[in-house]
């Protein structure tokens, strides 16, 4: 049985961050919020990794830093997290760069509107009708049809 102590709080915090990030990733409609949810999930994963190397009553893994002969925590998860943080920054920067371009091109970051734009443009390329659902929307309010707009590349050159 899990007793509510310090360890449980640590694990629940790390896993909670991960779960919050996953929920945000699936349920958010704004793409920027999805990126933020990804950041949260990443923080949760990093915390879990650090916790995996924790050792009770141990010093930081630096020789001559802690008391003589003291045990030290496992350095390998710390290195992994160090690299994961930097990779995370790179991924986030790239995602934000793509978002900037998407916002320039479509003027929105809403996932549903973007999807409608994409479908509309695809249909225009194929010279077919944009796809329409034959059923009533199951939840949420239906979106207004996307108005035709000039190709995003033409306005700026």
């Amino acid at each position: 049985m899990i007793d509510l102590n310090f360890v449980t709080v640590l694990y629940v915090g790390a896993i909670g961050l991960l779960v919050i990030g996953a929920v945000g990733l699936v349920m958010c409609n704004n793409v920027f919020r999805m990126v933020l949810a990804l950041v949260l999930a990443e923080a949760g994963v990093n915390l879990l990794l650090i916790l995996a190397g924790y050792r009770g009553d141990a010093a930081a893994p630096i020789l001559g830093f802690g008391p003589e002969g003291a045990q030290m925590v496992d350095p390998v998860p710390q290195v992994l997290v160090l690299t994961a943080i930097v990779i995370g920054v790179g991924v986030q920067a790239l995602a934000v760069a793509v978002l900037v371009r998407v916002f320039h091109a479509y003027g929105t970051l809403d996932m549903r509107e973007l999807k409608a734009h994409f479908e509309f443009e695809l249909a225009a390329e194929k010279t077919t009708e944009p796809p329409r659902s034959t059923e009533e929307p199951a939840g949420g309010r239906p979106l207004s049809p996307v108005p035709p707009r000039p190709h995003p590349g033409e306005a700026r050159s």
Binding site: I15, L18, Y54, I62, M72, D74, P77, A155
Partner: protein
């Protein structure tokens, strides 16, 4: 439907992870690699900070791979964002406090960044952390005066030289010792600034590379032209 599936999925994920975590013996990690490294790293590498030993000596080639990932991300971001046109309007200059603060912080951040990079084998810190501080030092100036910007050519030269230095040190070790990125040179006294052989050099190359990479990334993000109304 989608929300229900999402909640079910993430709830299951959280439950699974919690169950695994509750089975673990907290505080007694089952990994033997870490203990082994803790026992031998002081003699083998000669760096007081074992995290840096693992990062630059035992997992040196992974660090090189990660540098290439960062490089790919920075290049892709620059490619996606594109160059700004010469006559494109830039953001207005920051207020007096921001500009004065940027001027004041720049030398301090530079000193702290290089301190953290050069003491990476002794104290918590190292190439990645110090590099990010260096990038911040340059980016604060860009925030204060967006029109001035940063010279992307200089950044690319620093970035390329630092990356080449990292690989060059690795190749040097390959020719002399037969192993890529093997720590070389005199290990010195544990805890001295000049010790641990090539680790401080690798740390410096790593820091400059990460710093120039991130500075270029952030300036190309802030340089992006505003959306046409």
């Amino acid at each position: 439907m989608r929300n229900l599936a999402a909640i079910l999925f993430t709830g299951g994920l959280g439950f699974l992870l919690l169950v695994i975590a509750s089975q673990l013996d907290f505080g007694h990690p089952p990994m033997v690699v870490g203990q082994e490294i803790l026992d031998v790293a002081g003699d083998q590498v000669g760096a007081a900070n074992i995290v840096t030993s693992v990062l630059l000596a035992y997992r040196g080639i992974d660090t090189l791979g990660e540098l290439s990932i960062l490089f790919a991300a920075a290049t892709a971001a620059g490619l996606v964002l594109g160059h700004r046109h010469g006559d494109a309007p830039s953001d207005p200059e920051g207020g007096f406090i921001l500009r004065a603060g940027a001027d004041l912080l720049f030398p301090l951040l530079l000193v702290v960044g290089f301190y953290i990079i050069l003491h990476g084998h002794l104290t918590p810190g190292g190439g990645f952390q110090g590099g990010v501080i260096l990038a911040a030092a340059f980016f604060v100036g860009v925030l204060g005066r967006p029109a001035k910007g940063l010279n992307h050519d200089v950044i690319s030269v620093i970035e390329g030289l630092a990356g080449a230095a990292f690989i060059g040190i690795g190749l040097w070790a390959l020719f002399l010792e037969g192993e890529f990125l093997k720590p070389m040179l005199d290990k010195g006294t544990l805890g001295d600034l000049i010790s641990a052989g090539t680790l401080p050099l690798l740390s410096l190359a790593l820091g400059l590379k990460v710093g120039s990479e991130l500075a270029g990334l952030m300036t190309s993000l802030s340089d992006t032209e505003a959306r046409e109304p």
